[in-house]
């Protein structure tokens, strides 16, 4: 990447640079050539992060916590071990920390210094999460940020802003919506959005689902 190229494109996350494609190709070829990375490995990693992990993983964890008080208890005590102890979940890395919303407390997660994110359970971070506007603002004015995401919290709800500054990762456990007593765990998981597990929005209601 030459010093001159950065003036040639916009500062969005979307750009089409032949230069950068060539650079990426070169890097990959060198690593394969030097015997450091087997040929299909990169494709396999892409496949994993495009299709295997994603918010559906976190959503299943949240739904399980909603239906199983015992699982929720162990999740809040040590999320990594709780998840890895349940046979039907894929392994997640150390140290995942689950923080629970309530009527009195709302949690929101950011990484101001880079873009740390619980990839194991939420997949790839969205562009806005990695962007300067979110990283700069949410720590000092969370309420106005959340309003922009459509989340109007009561004025007396306490807000905790968790900044991922070490190798811990945070997963927000949103509140279970009312009138969902008859829903199955799988149906509940469908209500859990990615943003609700970052803390920037609420879960869907059954009404939202009908509308979409």
């Amino acid at each position: 990447m030459s010093d001159s190229h950065h003036h040639d494109h916009a500062h969005s996350d979307v750009s089409t640079l032949t230069d950068i494609q060539k650079r990426v190709k070169a890097l990959e070829s060198i690593l394969v050539d030097k015997g450091l990375v087997e040929r299909d490995v990169i494709d396999q990693i892409i496949e994993h992060f495009e299709n295997k992990v994603g918010p559906h993983v976190g959503a299943r964890i949240v739904a399980r916590a909603w239906v199983s008080p015992e699982f929720k208890k162990s999740l809040l005590a040590d999320a990594t071990n709780a998840i890895n102890g349940e046979l039907d979940f894929a392994e997640v890395g150390q140290h995942l920390i689950a923080v629970e919303n309530s009527d009195e407390l709302h949690n929101v997660v950011v990484c101001t210094l880079c873009s740390c994110y619980p990839w194991d359970v939420l997949g790839l971070p969205p562009v806005w999460y990695k962007s300067a506007p979110y990283r700069s603002r949410v720590v000092s004015e969370p309420r106005s940020v959340l309003e922009e995401f459509g989340l109007d919290l009561p004025q007396d709800t306490k807000i905790r802003i968790w900044d991922s500054t070490a190798e811990t990762r945070y997963l927000v456990i949103p509140q279970r919506p009312k009138n969902t007593e008859l829903m199955s765990e799988a149906e509940l998981a469908d209500l859990v959005t990615r943003d609700s597990m970052i803390g920037t929005s609420d879960v869907l209601t059954t009404a939202d689902q009908v509308n979409t």
């Binding site: 750009s15 150390q94 140290h95 101001t112 210094l113 007396d156 905790r160 070490a166």
Partner: protein
């Protein structure tokens, strides 16, 4: 470093722009960069802190102009060159000109690939007991190092409360400064919003960071 990467509490970057039905990758090469990054971390030649420090060294205007994955390409290349994983000539022609890398000892294969998916464990067992307990009031360090730190500028020289002890972890500051893991106790520290942002701030907010023991002193 106090580079532009330390964004917490700054203003003037425009609106937050969430996308509807955001794509996993916006451009095809972005996925390949992720694959490269995971592969290189697996090789264990340098750790994530070195990668982060390389990001901090990107000049402000580039940091803000480049996309996330463009920064990765830059950082990955710069660090690999610096550490001698390959050289400029190899980068130019896009192949190895010197056979196997002299510094690599591992290889990422389809058999070992699961290890490239799961995050590394940075917890380390040591003899020392944590200096602080849950409930302790602590003051964070004042520092403006040109090296690496995970203590953000907005939370320096501030009064907070230890709310959790997270175990003993690799200390990023030492990894970058002199390549040693120098593991340290890690705490979650909570600050009242007004302590960080002044009396005019929303009184319902508090901020939490994960702070290594050397960042903290007893009040």
């Amino acid at each position: 470093m106090n580079s532009i990467h330390d964004l917490g509490g700054m203003q003037g970057f425009g609106p937050i722009a969430p996308e509807d039905d955001e794509l996993t990758f916006h451009l095809s090469w972005e996925g390949r960069v992720l694959g490269l990054q995971r592969s290189i971390l697996f090789l264990g030649l340098w750790n994530i802190d070195v990668f982060r420090h390389a990001q901090e060294k990107i000049q402000a205007i580039d940091y803000l102009s480049w996309s996330y994955y463009e920064r990765w390409v830059h950082t990955l290349t710069a660090t690999a060159l610096e550490r001698g994983l390959f050289d400029q000539d190899e980068l130019r022609v896009g192949k190895s000109l010197s056979g196997e890398s002299p510094i690599a000892t591992k290889k990422l294969t389809m058999k070992s690939i699961n290890k490239a998916y799961v995050r590394g464990n940075f917890e380390r067992i040591g003899d020392s007991q944590p200096e602080f307990s849950v409930g302790d009031m602590v003051v964070t360090k004042q520092t403006h190092t040109s090296l690496h730190t995970r203590l953000p500028r907005y939370a320096r020289d501030k009064l907070g409360t230890v709310i959790a002890i997270r175990g003993r972890h690799v200390f990023p500051d030492s990894v970058v400064a002199h390549g040693s893991e120098d593991s340290q106790w890690l705490y979650t520290v909570e600050f009242e919003g007004c302590e960080l942002w002044g009396d005019a701030v929303d009184p319902t907010i508090s901020n939490l960071i994960d702070a290594f023991e050397p960042y903290l002193s007893r009040v």
